[in-house]
């Protein structure tokens, strides 16, 4: 009976171990499958995010790069097509043809509230200084850089280059045969020892004929307003580029009349400790999973 009892206990113990092993095995299988499913879903979400993000950049035509204490905006002004219309159509196309039932997308503002792609704000903000690079509308006929007065000292200087693609510089020394100077891009109020709000502007322009003009750096007192016209011409006098500086919060205003430019604007800041709020956040999430990717688009 003793032996029988021991055998019975041994058998019971072995059965318990087998049950525990089976349970552990099943849990591991579930974990493996769940982990792999999560990985596949994450891969799908990231793929969709990058796919849509590249198209939004293609439509808006603006590229922003941060490097140490500088921010460079590469832009085309004005817009070569109706950007608002294209954004709206793109949003419709995504909904009708691209999205699958297991993926959701949303464009979010700075407060993480959803916004319609056709209402995408035409503004990029450098934080925490709240320096803005924006257009009044997506026609991009005018470009502004503004800064709160209290944060203006964060801007050490601006380097602006405009490459004119549909007109030529109609002034000296860009065109050596002319006598009219390109422009006396001189501040209406130059900086002196008492100037508090100093903008150091380094400006250059080129055109499709290979002509080139440069100026700077010059110091503008942004407590006052300065306006400079750059002489351009293309068979008609009704072409111009106008630069306006100050007073704060206006730092720079680039106005275009019948002139198309590739603009490169570099802001030199007094710190590298800043971040950029782009046009909007793009959120792509997987339905039924806690997986999503949210980042500035």
């Amino acid at each position: 009976m003793g032996k029988g009892f021991i055998m019975a206990i041994t058998t019971a113990l072995i059965l318990v171990v087998m049950m525990l092993y089976a349970q552990s095995f099943a849990a591991k299988k579930d974990g493996d499958i769940s982990g792999m499913a999560q990985s596949l879903v994450s891969d799908k979400v990231i793929h969709a995010w990058r796919d849509i993000n590249k198209d939004v950049f293609l439509i808006t035509g603006i590229d922003v790069e941060k490097e140490n204490n500088t921010v460079t905006f590469n832009d085309t002004l004005p817009a070569p097509f109706d950007i608002s219309d294209m954004l709206s159509l793109y949003g419709q196309f995504i909904s009708q043809y691209y999205l699958t039932p297991d993926v959701e997308i949303a464009f979010l503002n700075t407060n993480d509230q959803p916004l319609n792609l056709s209402n995408l704000p035409s503004k990029i903000t450098i934080m925490p200084m709240n320096i803005e690079y924006y257009y009044p509308s997506w026609s991009k006929r005018e470009m502004f850089i503004t800064s709160p007065v209290s944060n203006f000292t964060a801007i050490q200087g601006i380097v602006l280059h405009l490459h004119i693609t549909n007109a030529v510089l109609d002034c000296y020394p860009a065109n050596l045969s002319l006598s009219t100077p390109c422009t006396a891009i001189a501040p209406d109020k130059e900086c002196d020892a008492n100037t508090v709000y100093r903008l150091y502007l380094n400006f250059s322009a080129s055109d499709y004929a290979g002509q080139y003009y440069s100026m700077g750096p010059k110091c503008f007192d942004l407590s006052k307003h300065s306006t400079e016209n750059l002489n351009v011409q293309n068979e008609s006098a009704n072409y111009y580029i106008k630069l306006l500086m100050g007073p704060l919060p206006l730092v720079l205003d680039v106005q275009l009349q019948n002139t198309v430019v590739n603009a490169t604007t570099t802001l030199i800041l007094n710190t590298s400790d800043f971040y950029i709020n782009h046009l909007s956040k793009l959120k792509v999430s997987a339905v039924g999973y806690s997986t999503s990717k949210v980042d500035w688009s």
């Binding site: 799908k44 796919d51 198209d55 293609l58 793109y90 995504i94 043809y97 691209y98």
Partner: protein, 140 residues
């Protein structure tokens, strides 16, 4: 008789243990592992095709040329993978999209299991055209 009963129970117990392990091994061997890397291959291939401009040619170039190029990309996939890629171009009037053309390339026959499907969107902002590429991969 008592001994026989015990021996029978012992044999049954051995069979149960053996059955358990055989089942576990069988389950492990039958996991469709190919399913797990097919979607990654599909996504990577679509990204690569898009970044190389393969889809944009469909907006303007000869369809036969585009199809030939897509076929050569599919031929570069590892053996055992069957594939089919469909590129659709849409025009728009107002806010209504119309299918302008479809270009398709394939290799092998798409199976019914171990299959994955992925999409890629691309646009021509100057011509106001929209494109959708759909890739189906299957293994075995």
């Amino acid at each position: 008789m008592k001994k026989a009963f015990i021996f029978t129970l012992d044999a049954l117990f051995a069979i149960v243990v053996l059955a358990f392990f055989l089942t576990a091994i069988s389950l492990e061997l039958n996991v469709p592992r190919e399913t797990y890397w097919l979607p990654s291959i599909a996504n990577s291939m679509m990204t690569s095709l898009d970044e190389q401009g393969a889809f944009y040619h469909a907006f303007r170039e000869d369809d036969a040329q585009v199809q030939s190029a897509l076929n050569s990309y599919l031929d570069a996939l590892p053996g055992g993978i069957n594939s089919q890629i469909t590129v659709k171009i849409y025009t728009v009037s107002g806010s209504t999209f119309s299918l302008f053309k479809t270009i398709q390339a394939s290799r092998g026959t798409i199976g019914t299991k171990d299959k994955t499907f992925t999409k890629r969107i691309f646009i021509d902002v100057n011509e106001k055209k929209f494109g959708l590429a759909e890739l189906v991969l299957s293994y075995g």
